[in-house]
Amino acid sequence: MPKVKVKRKSTAIDMTAMSDVTVLLLTFFMLTSTFVEPEPVQIAVPSSVSEIKIPETNVLQILVEADGRIFMGVDGPAIRVAMLRDVAEQYGYEFTDQELVNFQESAFFGVPLSQLKALLDLPLEDQEKIMVAQGTGVPIDSTANPSNEFKAWVKAARKANRDVRISIKAASNTPYSKIHLVMSSLQDIRENRYNLITTLKSVAGDF
């Protein structure tokens, strides 16, 4: 009687198909994801129950640090340059092409216009460090109109891109007086709709 031959089955599964699928998905996610521009300062935002997501493009971000310093950032290098040209013209400053290129490289800025030229002449990698360490933020003033460069920047952003959405990202321990300055400045230039960036907070109950 011949021995019953147990057929040895290989346990190895063909992973090729699986690999195909994962590579495909990976490509999709890599292409659709956009890189978040690094922010110059860390800001701890308050939490809220709001679940609206901020759009990825056409956003003018206003970062408000706890000490009231303001940094601004726009996505799209072309818009950044257009803004700088516009504002510089209003205040009578001139920037060289190299400075414009430098300006469009960094996502956020937060210095008065009078210091911007000196900052842009520095090597690119030092700019952000110095801006955060020594910068005073974008000047904002409640009363004197000409010195309120913040308004000029926002106006320029609106001019450069009509669909821009203003979003305020402020630290949770910022005194209200600082926020009030930003809000009233925006109100003055008739920017009455804007977003406040928060993190998600879970809430008990189903309201």
Binding site: A12, D14, M15, T16, M18, S19, T22, V23, L25, L26, F29, M30, T32, S33, V36, V45, P46, S47, S48, V49, S50, E51, I52, K53, I54, E56, V64, S167, K169, A170, A171, S172, N173, T174, P175, Y176, S177, K178, I179, H180, M183, S184, L186, Q187, D188, R190, N192, R193, Y194, N195, L196, I197, T198, T199, L200, K201, V203, A204, D206, F207
Partner: protein
């Protein structure tokens, strides 16, 4: 050309060893999965939440009084103080009686309980609508439309948020959040007036300032 030249004659010609061309893809899949997870998490998690607010425009020729003129029976004024304190009064400020200003908190049983109590009718209707939405599979647009109608009811409270300079941004967001939670559609962030600051001060001193007023008047 591309063939490998074999030195030892034609004996073994055509009998090349069959190489197994199958490659094990398991590590590749592992790595891909890892990267995939990373990218998926990054794209969905990094999106911050946002609150939309619209402020009344400044250039309408509204005087301070006109802007504050909302039906007294519907108005609730919330004053955000320093050190995470919050006060409220309903209707017109009553400078005579310091107890008209009440202190509450940002906790669930504080501001939220008070607002939900005032806004009972709307909250109940919104809940019904939510139930209906689940039962009938109503479209989001219609839900939003009907919710908007309910929230705009004539009896719904109007909340005026007045933040003092001592309060923080977090307080403001918390207060706005409560509006959202309590289905209050009509609210406004208004500059604080001297009268309101005085009310808070009077409250802290348990009505001592009221006596001063009376004496001044006499």
């Amino acid at each position: 050309m591309a063939e490998v030249q074999q030195k030892d004659g034609g004996k073994k010609k055509g009998k090349q060893k069959k190489m197994n061309i199958r490659v094990d893809f398991t590590p590749m899949v592992d790595m891909n999965m890892l990267l995939l997870t990373f990218f998926m998490l990054c794209t969905t998690m990094s999106k911050p939440q946002t609150m939309e607010i619209s402020m009344p425009s400044n250039d309408k020729t509204l005087t301070e009084q006109e802007r504050d003129k909302v039906a007294a029976s519907r108005a609730i004024t919330i004053i955000l103080g320093g050190e995470d304190r919050v006060y409220y009064y309903t209707g017109e400020p009553n400078y005579e009686d310091w107890t008209s200003l009440q202190e509450t908190s940002y906790a669930d049983d504080g501001l939220r309980a008070m607002l939900l109590g005032r806004n009972q009718e709307v909250v109940a209707k919104i809940r019904e609508l939510k139930k209906e939405k689940i039962d009938t599979g109503m479209s989001d647009e219609e839900y939003d439309k009907r919710a908007g109608e309910i929230k705009d009811a004539k009896t719904a409270p109007i909340v005026i948020i007045k933040a003092t300079d001592d309060s923080t941004y977090k307080n403001l967001v918390d207060a706005l959040d409560e509006m959202h939670i309590c289905s209050i559609n009509k609210y406004a962030i208004v500059d604080i007036t001297e009268g309101d600051e005085w009310l808070v001060e009077n409250y802290e001193k348990k009505g001592e300032l009221t006596d001063q007023i009376d004496r001044d008047q006499m």
